[in-house]
Structures are given as C-alpha cells and as structure tokens.
Point group: C2
Chain length 684, copies 2
C-alpha cells in the first residue's frame, strides 16, 4: 500500500452497510465476545469451576496458573488480582511465563478469612512495538516511522493513563518523558531514549492495556489459621482421668494431666462428647445392650433430663470448671477440641421441645438409628428435612456450635458428618466462620472417597483419612500421592490418627512396641495434622474380639484408669516427633512430600523440604515391626544441584550426631528392638 | 423413644426460637443450599465449565458421566435431561451406576444443531423403603409398621404425582393399586403386592422424587452432520487443470476431472482461493519477489480491480460456471470446499471502501503483513479492532461466508485463523450455523497446541494437525492418544492432510513410493477426516530447496500441468482406503482407536471397532519405506472374550483372502516394494 490512494487515506470512515444485516441480539453478542480478545483458560487451582474455595493457611503460598494467549504475535501480559471477600480494591501481582502458553503468579494471605482471585490479561502494545522496532533496527531497517508510532503510544498513555488510583506520580513522570522525547531531533538519540529502562517501566505502570480481558470467575479462596493445616492432637476421655476406676473423672482431673500432655508436645486436646448421657436403653460395658446400675453409658448417647448439646455432663464438672480447663490448657500450649455429635439419646430435651425435628412412625414412635436389620436403640437421629426442621433445626445446631465457641472452644471434631446433609454443613460452617474465621472443623467421616472430599469442599478444615488402614509401602505411597499431588490437596487436609476409640488397628494387635513407634513416625512426619488417642503411648491394643477393631473394656462404656508412665511407653518418641515438627518448617507442610527410593519394600523413605531448602528433612521408616530391615537408598543430591558424587552434611536428629554422605547411594539398617525410624536433616 | 411422651407426639410443632437468630440473607442462603441435598459433580464431558459445546455428529453416542451421591444410606436415582437449544421439554434418560459413586447415561442426537444436557438426581424413598423392608422381613423382623409406611408412600404419589406431563395413565394405575392394597387384610398378601414389579415400575414412573437436585449447568452440545467427523478431502488448484501450462485452468476443466476424482473415492473437493488476484507486488514463480508479465500470482493475494472476496477470478469462469461445477460435483459424490483467507492484496476494493478496517501508519500507508524484520509485500491484513472494524468488518466477513453458502458451498477451509481474533470466529461461526447447522469450518492453524484447541472450542468443526510431522511409532502413538483419549477429543476433530501446497513433508523427499503409500494408509485409517493435495497420488515431492517443505514450481505461483494417471501413481491405494472407509463403520469413527502390540518399533498396529464388534478392523503399517520389517503381534482375543488360545476368522482386505488366526501371538512381514500396510477384518 505504498501506492495508497491519498484520497482514501484522508477519509478513513467506512461506508455504512447498505442495510442492517445483523440483529440486535447478534450485535450484542458480537460486542460481548469482542471484549475477550486475550484468552484466559485452564485456570488452577479451581474447585468445581469456582463453586468451592481453594484452601490455604495464613502465609502459605498460593501459586495460580493459567493458559493465557491471544491471536497473532503481539506480546501479552497478565496480572493476578486478589482481594478479601468484601474488598473492592484488588491487589495486583504480575504473571510470569512458564512454557506452552502457561503462566504463573504466586501470592499469600496474612490473615484467616475469605478471599478471592481473578486474572486480567492484555496485549502489551508498547512491549510489542519495542521488540519489533529493535529487531528492525538491528537488521538495519529504517525506523523513522516506528519512532513516530512509539511517540504516539507514549502520548496516549500520558494523556489518559489507565484510570486507576495511585498512578498520578507515574503519569507525571511519563508526561515529562514525552516532552523529553519531543525535544530529541536525532533518530539515534530518540531511539536511545525509548530503549531506556525507565520508559519501559513507566509504560508497564501506566501504559494503556489494549484488549484487556478479565477471567469470568472470581475464584474463592479460604485462608485458615495455621492450626487447620498443622496440629498434633491428643484425644482422651475425661471420665478416665481420675486414676481410679471407682471415681468418675472430672475437668479438674484433666487439668492435673495437662503437664503430662504438654511434655509429649501436643497442641490440641480433644474430648469425645461431654454432655449429659441418656438413661433409656443405655449401653453397658463392652457395648452390652443393657447397662448395669451405675454404669456411665456411651457419651455419644447425648441428652437426658440434665440437658442436651448445650449442657455439661454433671459428673465432669460445672461450666466454671470447664472454663478453667480451657484457660489452663492454653497455659500449657494446648487448645481444647470438643466433639459435635448430632445424634440424641431418647431422653434428649429436643424430642419434647421440637418433635417436628424427628421422623415419627405411624405408631407414634421415632425411628431408631438403624442399618437394617440392625438397630441402635440408644440413639435416635434428627431428620434435617423433617416437618419444621428447615430452618429451625439447622439454626439450633449452628447455635450449639456458636455456644461452645463463646466458651472458648474453636476446634470441633464432628461425628459422622457424612450421614447428615452436605448443604447443612456448608451453611453452618460459613455461619460460624462469619463469627470466627479461626474456627476449625474436623470431619470424622470414614466413608467413600467422594463423600469425604465433598465434606472438605463444603468447608471442613480437616478430615479423618484412610491412613489408619494403610500399612504397606505401595499403598502408603499411592494414598499419599493422591492426597498431596491430586486436586484434593487444594481443599482437603487429612488428619492422620494412629488410633481412635473406635479403631484399634489390626496391625497393632500383633506388632508390639515397634509397631506403635513406626506408626507414630509415619503419622507425625507424613501429615500436617495427626492424632493419638490416649493409650497409644502405652501400646494398648487388646481387642474385644480377636481380629476386630473394638478395644476391650473400652472407655466408651466404662471408667478406666491407667498408669500413664508405665514401662514400655513411647512418650519419648512422641515428644521427639512433636518437637521436630515444631522446629522444622519442612514438617509443617503437607503437600511438600516427595518419595525417594529405598531399595527395600519394607522401608518407606521420603523427603520434606522448604522452598529455600533451609529445612530439608529425610525420613525413613521400617514398616516391619518384627524383622531387621535395611538396604541402599538414594540421597536427593540432584535436588540440591549436586552431581551423583556430591557430598551433603547430615544431622541424625534421632541419635543427635552429625556426619556426611559422599555420593548418591548410601546404606541404612533398622533393628526392630532399636529405633524403627530415622530422621535426617541435610544441607550442602 | 418407644417410651415417647404421648403429649409431645401429639403436638409436633417446635417452639419458635426465643428471638430471631438468623439474618434474612443467611436464611435465603440456607434455603438455596438445602435444595441440593443430592450431590451432582464431576460431570463429563464438560468443556471449560460449560463455556463451550461438547461436539458430536448425528447419531454418535454421547455418554455422560457424573459423581452422584447423597448423605446417609438412602437409595438414589438420577436422570440425564436433554433438549434442543430452544426446546422447553426435556427428554429423560435414566442413569445407571458404574462404581465409586460414578454414574452414566448415554444418548444420541438425530439431527445437526445445538442441544444441551443437564442432570437431575433424587433420593428414591420407595426403593429405599422396599430394600429395607425386604431385609427386615428376610431377617424375620415384624414389618407391620413398615407396610403402613409403604402404603403412605404410594398414597402420596397417587395423590399428586410429579406434576409432569404424560403421567395421567400411570397415576390412574397407581390409584387403582393403592385401592387394591387397601383391600388386603393379610400382611403376607400385602407385602407380596408391594413386592410386585408393577408397584416398583409405577413408583419409578410417578413416585415423588424427594430432595430432587438439578445440576447447576446446562451443558451445551453441538451436533454436526457426519461430514464434520468423517470426510476424505482432495485439494486441487483449478488453475492447473487444463492439462496445458500455457492455458489457465477453468471451472469447466475441473468438471472434466470429476470422474477421476470420484474414481479415487473422495467426497470433498477443496480449492485454494478462487477470487481475483492483486497486481501490486504480485509474486512470481517459485515465490520470487516480482512477477514476470503474464504470471498469475498467488491466489492468497486476494482482491483487485476485478473484485474481492465475493467475486471470482475471471480466468476461472463465471458464477454460472461455478454453479455448474457445484452441481456436477454433487453428481459425482463430491462436495465443494473453498478457502476463506481474510488477507487482502494492496488492490483489494475494501481498502478504498473501508479504510477504517485497516491499520494506517503516520505516513498514510497501511502496514504490510510482517514478521519483523521480514515483510510480505503482496498482502495487507485487516485490523479486527481498528477504528470502525467492530462491528462492520466482522459483519462483512460473515456475509462473505453467507454469500458462498448461498452459492451452495457448505465447507470452508480457513487460512491462518490463529492470526485473527478468537471472538470473531466464535461469533461468525455461530451466525453461519444459525443459517445452516451443516456448515463446516476447517481451521488451517499450524501453531501452538492451546491455540489450535481454542479454535476448535470456539466452533471449528475440523482442525489441521501435527500429523504431517509425526513419523515415528512413539510419536504417532503419543499424539493419537492425546487426540482420541484426552479432553480435546470432545471438541477437536483433526483432519490428517498428508501434504498441502505449503507442506511437502521432508519424509516424502527420500521415501519413494512406499513412503507415500504408508503415509496414505496412516492418514486414511487413523483419522476420521483426512486429505490429499493433488500431486500426492503421483508421488510428487521435489522441493524448491533441499531440506525445506516448499514444493518446486509450486502451483501457488504458476500454472502447472500433470499426467494424472502416469506410471507409479498410487490411485489404487487411495481408492482402496476410501472404499473401506465407507464400507466399514469402524473406520468412520476417530476416537475408537486402540493401539495394539507389534513387537517391532517400525510397525504401527492398531484396532478400530464398533461397539457391537460387527465391524472390527486391524491395521498394520510399516513405517520404514526402505527396509523389510515384520515380527510378532498380538491378536486382541481378550476383547472378543476369547482365551489366549482362541481362534478368530480373518479377512485380509488388501489381498482379498480369508484365513484364521489360532492363538494370541501371530506374525506378519512387510517388504517395501510390496504393500507397506495390512488391513484385516476379524470376527469370531
């Protein structure tokens, strides 16, 4: 078009089309589509299209990735926008290019609460101009016209800016620069001024963003306090803390035990239900159908003439006692967690006060909990969709949680949440978080994988897991890869309990003390959150029935007494792991897990490290409590930028000694009567 | 609660809460959430959350999968709902359970056009009741109360039904059944009546659907005519069809060639641009910068004093000639495809008529197409976002396509669509489809993977692919696995061209005739859509520059003449493949590809089969045109339910003979001078 007709170039308006050829709706659609010239897709993390929040803890990095591209060859740029849920001002973080049209940007949030992110991307006209003009100049092509075009780009930006706040200073600087450029008479000097870093910086800050696209979704992010992702739980039954089977334990007895528990290094102290227990159909010791007089019954049969979910079991103490326990626990570095178990004993006050919350049968009775043809006669369930349960039952249940929150309890272990409607949890947890974004809910759902994941999506901060039943190396690796590397890692945080009042794992029935130590090592180092039910430290494992998971003489049905420091306990192991979990930042993270090769199927071997490698921990656990195991393993020299012949410094955290490993392949050995695990801290 | 207080059970209303404890907004949220008790998630196929349509061809099955579950142990049920884009009535197809809470339902659509699907799921109260009651009865438990509850379920359904159309008859039958049940006095007879299949059927048809959830998205589905997914293209330059280099070819010359092309079995006949060609900066033979007088120039430099995109190059013929060609082609089973190339020669009428569609420089010239520092002086590009390009340019370009659609062209091969805005394509293709849902667009984008996929998402029915550069067994397998098994299979349909006017593949420069035959075999059997640019059948491969993909003496810049039946041609191979592609339904599908083991890295071996196994084709292709290749391979006996010692009947479709294979491992051998491929049809 060097031959371009001068007349045509003067009148640069197209002739109107002969007749309207497009409908109103079509034109609207055209204009709506035209707004998104730059494509933003494949955004991650993104849970169900943004239906559920991505989870992080305070200050934990959130690396967002997206495919960002446009037609043609223009240089593009993109920014991650983040804001608190209610905020109007977005914070902008530039994206950097990875490969294959994939970009990334990373942020972190300092305080718990709801946030959201989205993405903007645009064609960077000035960067494109600068790159093209440099190429032409380098090739010796005349660039006088290009320099005029460049000046126009700067002038446009200086005239208007992007209309965002805080760009006044940069705009002023840009205007000064435009004047400086206008004064240049020599093409080389002009080009040099354009090529200065300041020009590019100013245009990056206030240059017009052509064809700015905005990702259609504002992706919710939920930020928890650290305890949601990193916590060490100790579970006990207050009834058994008196040290005397003939005397029901009290909150004061629990207070007396706090130094013991602190010594082991736990940070959460969790109690099964502490509410009044029903009399009707009360269960006797070892789950017998009828209780003998004086037997305490299951704490899960909640509610009696003495009250319901907002009351305390009188034998444990008063609210004043409970309050004192909460305070004293805090003094010992322990936070109290209680159980939220929605089932009712047939004596629960709700039955009289709110019959519309229950499912009545034609004969005027309420359905017992059942799994036909089995019946659970000491428990009846509320019906979340019964007559007038929506909304009054839902509100009351929320208020139960708020009640205990007001008493200083911020952690709730929830019993069997998968048998209650998901929408209830989603609503209730959001309500509680509006009051305290630091409230934590642990889902005790041992059910099908997708239900467990859904509970995490609707808001649970922590989830019980299948860990308790994963013993072989291959299954531990497979399960941990799923939890840490697949999408569920964005919203589900497992809590690895080594045992619970309901689960006396088969593995421990025959493993002896070595088995308890190795299971502890696995839970404490693999997971961010882990838990121990009291008795584990004493290597208690006697089952009610051989081959079954129910404990003999379970505290669920009777008052027990233990010598908490009796010989053979593993309190030192527990204290060791809880200590290094605190001191090594690498162990506070869950998803930084990396399995490494130990050429023996009975030894699990993995690394955890911080991004800056300042805390780099290697863990080996013999999975065989009966036989010596050992063999060769690889030192992850490649991760430290070292050749296979490289040397690393090693601190053996178990034996408290230091040495070096020279070369990638090394050797280790475990005897079951010695320590069945090894923990090393490596550095270059 | 057998001891339940009679007073309480009479008044089944809960007491109102002492004070309002929930805000308006919270209550609204509670009720909205409560509606979705049954979870529907993990829905597939679903492209970018429903932003883009899943693609199918007419009568091609669409199997939808979803994770569907609820809290507790109730039996659930689900249905797939499908409808045309404008229709209000949904067609219902029941889901069946797969495993791990995953369900599936399959539908197909008979006619091209826009459709949508969604999912409903509910708790099946009657099925749950029936299952629980049967368990209790089998265990000898008293079920009198259960029978009363069952009767209530039927009565409720008979009273109201689900309020859908066409249930009148079933409701009437249900009412009759309720009466029949009411007449039964004996529990056994009553149970027997409940257990009859008709009761379950009636309740399935009109029983109330408790806690009915509906998936939040209506997922768009685009259904194409079969040619979008199954077509065999032949590309030729009309200018070279006169058989005489001194005479420019015409549409009538093309008509004379139709029997030849039909004999090879193609069904699409595609021409590069047939519009007037610019004079300014016209390219000469072999892409020289200046044309000699009388040279025809590149057909991609569109537009001259003789017209633009809605005009014909005068030397080819008139619109009457073109119309005759379209009609005569149809008589030969051939559909005409034309090129939609948006670039303009500097002589294009738009430049004067619509200067506002172009990007003018400060000196009054238009930017040439360029890739700095390179310039393409015979072409200028419209600027889709220039002064008044939105919407008038977009509308005009749409009208160009509609213009040719009105002339009987329904297939458009689009030149370099990735250098034009994606929103334009999305809008334009939808506009054309509103006129003719059978219009087909092939994207000629050889660019980065995500751009190619995006073009398919925004509406392209077919896409050029990387096939032309995939020669080794591992890379063919890897690429085909991506295309057929990954998500892009839901929206992208490659067209495997063996060569194009721009791509004279390096492999063919040295492969000889065997190479042409094996590349043909791969394209014709691997892909649903494939294409051949004329000259391929003559094994033409002389490059302009050794080691480069440009053809010597390319028709793009001069008139050529060929003896289309000269010795050494592979017309018989082409006819063979086009024949079996038509006769074997297995070869009409693309995503049914299954690679099988041939223990030789130079032999690619795969199966294609219909779901009912009535068309079961095995293809082997030697990838080595120079040396004999062969070895052992596996017969997929396991897919036929046969043991490794089983026997299948085999038709060798190449040699036209029949035999059997007894046993899973067999042997085959290829000599490059013989046929480099084998095609078998197997049956039990």
């Amino acid at each position: 078009m060097a031959q371009s007709d001068a007349a045509a170039t003067k009148s640069r308006k197209s002739r109107p089309p002969a007749e309207p050829t497009v409908s109103e709706g079509s034109l609207k659609r055209l204009k709506a589509l035209a707004r998104d010239r730059v494509v933003i897709e494949g955004v991650a993390p993104l849970i169900d299209g943004g239906r559920f929040a991505v989870k992080r803890t305070e200050n934990e990095p959130l690396a967002v990735e997206a495919d960002i591209f446009s037609d043609g060859h223009e240089i593009i740029a993109a920014a991650l926008l983040t804001a608190g849920a209610g905020e109007e001002d977005w914070r902008e973080t530039p994206f950097t290019y990875l490969a294959n049209d994939r970009w990334t940007a990373s942020v972190a949030f300092a305080r718990p609460g709801p946030y959201r992110y989205t993405i903007v991307a645009w064609r960077d006209t000035f960067a494109t101009w600068a790159s093209d003009t440099k190429k032409k100049r380098d090739a010796g092509v005349e660039i006088a016209l290009e320099l005029r075009e460049g000046a126009t780009l700067l002038e446009k930006a200086a005239d208007s800016g992007r209309g965002t706040k805080d760009q006044g200073k940069a705009l002023k600087a840009l205007r000064a620069r435009v004047e400086k450029l206008a004064a240049k008479r020599d093409a080389d000097a002009l080009y040099a001024a354009f090529a200065e870093a300041e020009t590019a910086e100013l245009m990056r800050d206030v240059g017009l963003r052509e064809n700015l696209s905005r990702y259609e979704t504002e992706v919710p992010v939920w930020v928890d306090r650290e305890a949601a992702g990193f916590s060490s739980w100790y579970e006990l039954m207050p009834r058994s803390q008196s040290g005397d089977v003939t005397r029901h334990g009290t909150f004061d007895d629990v207070i007396a035990r706090l130094p013991d528990i602190q010594e082991m290094g736990f940070d959460v102290l969790y109690f099964p239900p502490i509410h009044p227990i029903g009399q009707s159909n009360r269960k006797g010791r070892n789950n017998s159908v009828t209780a003998q007089p004086g037997e305490p019954g299951s704490p899960y049969a909640i509610g009696s003439a003495e009250g319901g979910h907002k009351d305390l079991h009188p034998e444990l103490g008063s609210f004043a006692d409970f309050q004192r326990l909460v305070t004293r626990a805090a003094d010992h570095g322990l936070e109290i967690a209680i159980d939220f178990a929605i089932q009712c004993s047939p004596d629960h006050p709700w039955i009289k006060e709110h019959p519309g919350w229950f499912d009545w049968r034609p004969d005027g009775t309420i359905k017992y909990a059942e799994n036909p043809p089995k019946k659970y006669q000491d428990i009846v369930n509320v019906d979340f969709y019964a007559g007038d349960a929506v909304p009054s039952l839902w509100i009351e249940l929320r208020d139960v949680v708020l009640f205990w929150l007001a008493k200083g309890v911020r952690i709730f272990r929830v019993d069997n949440p998968h048998t209650k409607p998901f929408p209830f949890w989603e609503w209730m947890i959001a309500e509680v978080r509006a009051v305290d974004p630091g409230a934590i809910f642990l889902a005790e759902a041992f059910t099908r994988p997708k239900l467990m994941k859904r509970l995490a999506k609707v808001g649970y901060n922590q989830s019980y897991s299948y860990f308790t039943w994963r013993n072989a190396k291959w299954e531990l690796r497979q399960y941990l890869e799923e939890l840490t590397k697949e999408e569920c890692g964005e919203f589900m945080r497992p809590n690895f309990f080594v045992n619970t009042p309901d689960i006396n794992p088969l593995f421990l029935h025959t493993s002896g003390r070595a088995g308890f130590r190795l299971r502890l090592a696995l839970a404490a180092t693999l997971a961010g959150n882990y838990g121990v039910y009291s008795g584990f430290e004493l290597c208690e494992s006697e089952p009610l029935v051989v081959g079954k998971e129910e404990y003999k003489d379970s505290e669920k049905y009777e008052v027990r007494a233990f010598d908490w420091k009796r010989e053979g306990n593993i309190r030192d192991d527990i204290a060791f792991f809880n200590r290094i979990r605190r001191s090594e930042p690498a162990l506070r993270d869950f998803r930084n897990l990396q399995f490494l090769e130990f050429w023996n199927d009975n030894v699990l071997y993995f690394a955890k490290r911080t991004a800056d490698l300042s805390s780099y921990i290697l863990v080996m656990v013999s999975l065989d409590p009966h036989n010596p195991q050992g063999g060769h393993f690889e030192v992850p020299l490649w991760e430290l930028g070292l050749p296979d012949t490289g040397t690393v410094k090693v601190e053996d955290l178990v034996a408290d000694r230091q040495f070096v490993w020279a070369g990638k392949v090394q050797h280790w050995w475990f005897e079951p009567e010695n320590v069945p695990y090894a923990v090393f801290r490596i550095s270059v």
